[in-house]
């Protein structure tokens, strides 16, 4: 589903964010991306979205080598990739329903598809009763659920999450992890960058550890770190 083949990424200013990284993630896996700050986790995810180009190496997503993708095809790549971030990135002037529907509208889905899929996914994330609220009327955990609903409404093959619980308290974090687990169980591949020792150690899924841009550990049913 996802393959990194000797990928190197250097930002201008000669900062090496990824160095000869290799990884192979199968369909349906749940993978934690860990490592100290600046080790290249966000870069790993941005490369998958083709928000950045690698300097060397090849990247496959869903069987396609994305380095060869012409730029007008990038939107279609992104429709296979749901995305969740630490800061939610909801539109403040749209309701919960509108925020989720927006993701379908802008890729040109017809109205009746939107009208069936949005309530369905809001039911899944447990917000069926708050469809008309605005983001700032919700708690952080609820906002992140909306963001997950938006990422998932198009039934992507892969869900990418960059520190989705970074702003949340431990109780809320647990709820979000349960939701991601449920989404993973539907067959969606989940890749999640995180600093949260507690959840990595509790979930015991595959862990890829980066350090200064290199993959230093790739462990099935791993924990946050040897030292931590």
């Amino acid at each position: 589903m996802i393959r990194f083949d000797n990928v190197t990424k250097t930002y201008k200013g000669s900062v090496v964010a990824l160095r000869d990284a290799n990884a192979d993630i199968q369909k349906g896996e749940f993978v934690f991306l860990v490592g100290p700050s600046g080790s290249g986790k966000s870069t790993f995810l941005r490369l998958l979205l083709k928000e950045e180009e690698p300097d060397a190496g090849r990247i496959w997503v869903a069987g396609k080598q994305i380095g060869k993708l012409s730029s007008w095809k990038v939107p279609y790549l992104r429709r296979n990739l749901g995305c969740v971030f630490q800061d939610f990135r909801l539109l403040p002037n749209k309701t919960v329903y509108e925020n989720v529907a927006f993701a379908l509208q802008v890729i040109g889905r017809p109205r009746h598809v939107i009208a069936t899929q949005v309530p369905q996914v809001l039911e899944l994330v447990g917000l069926a009763k708050k469809t008309d609220r605005f983001p700032n009327e919700l708690s952080g955990g609820e906002q992140q659920r909306v963001a997950i609903a938006r990422a998932f409404v198009n039934r992507p093959l892969i869900l990418l999450a960059d520190e989705p619980t970074g702003n949340l308290d431990p109780g809320t974090t647990q709820g979000i992890m349960k939701l991601l687990d449920r989404i993973n169980k539907t067959g969606t591949t989940v890749v999640m960058a995180t600093h949260d020792v507690v959840i990595v150690n509790a979930m015991r899924r595959r862990v890829i550890e980066l350090d200064h841009g290199s993959v230093v550990r790739d462990q099935a049913r791993g924990i946050y770190g040897y030292g931590a």
Binding site: W72, P75, Y76, R78, C83, R89, F102, V106, I107
Partner: protein, 312 residues
Amino acid sequence: MALSVDYVIKETSTNIWRNRMVALAAMLTVALSLTFVGGALLFKQGVAKATARWEGGVQLVVFMETTSTPSESHAILSQMVGPNIPSVGSKPVAPGSGGMPQVKSVWHCDQACTYKEFKTLNSDDPTITAVTKPSDLPQSYRVQLQNGNQAPSVARLLNHQPGVQDVVYPSKAVSDLLRLSKFLQGVSFLIAFVLLVAAIVLILNAIRLAIFARRKEVSVMKLVGATNWFIQVPFMLEGLFQGVVGSLLAWGAMALGTSKFESLSNNNPFALTQALTISSHDVFTTGLLVVLLGAAIGAGGSAVAVRRFLDV
């Protein structure tokens, strides 16, 4: 890729409303600059029409009677350029020995040539051009002089000869008009140019602000896989709209200005304004040109803005 019409209209109008002040300034500036462009073009056309006969430095026209014989015509020609030159065509010919020393060159405008000129001069009155045949019109000799001040004396020499209908030379007003028009056109185009720059920057800015106001929406759109086209179209339409509305305003101002000008020159018979006539047909074609220009400015400005600031 369903880019539905109501989505695009809604987005575009929201954009414009959000930055209505900048959008308004952009439209007004487009309008003003295109009014100058259109005004200068109309003025140029008016002057060209009023002075068509005097193009290429012609300073004297000898109209022959439509009933004049070839020998009468030849006698006049001989008087001007000397007996050694039997005939002249549509290219100017300098006089040989025995010609008039005041004459620099002469060319011949036959009836077809006169008819063409007649149509230009009367393009605003199709009924006249329709009932007039080339054979109704006189042939003529077009004379360039060594010195424009000699026109009256040379005219006196040639007039009242057999076969000559009339000898005319440009009045002071027309020759002044020719000189003034060059200057005014230059100034108008300079002003129009500065204003066009301002207009494009204002449109660019309006789009930039619209993009900025929607940067969160745009980033979410990119994230969930909206196509570039889908993201760009509302912004580009916004620019187009501003350009077109501005140019329509310019068209209106031109039409209004022209009619005001006409009524003014009818009341105050300056030689200057009287000599100019601007047909409504001219206003229409220039208006169309102006709208095309406005659309081009709007589309161009927004395309640049979308390229530079949207980064899709």
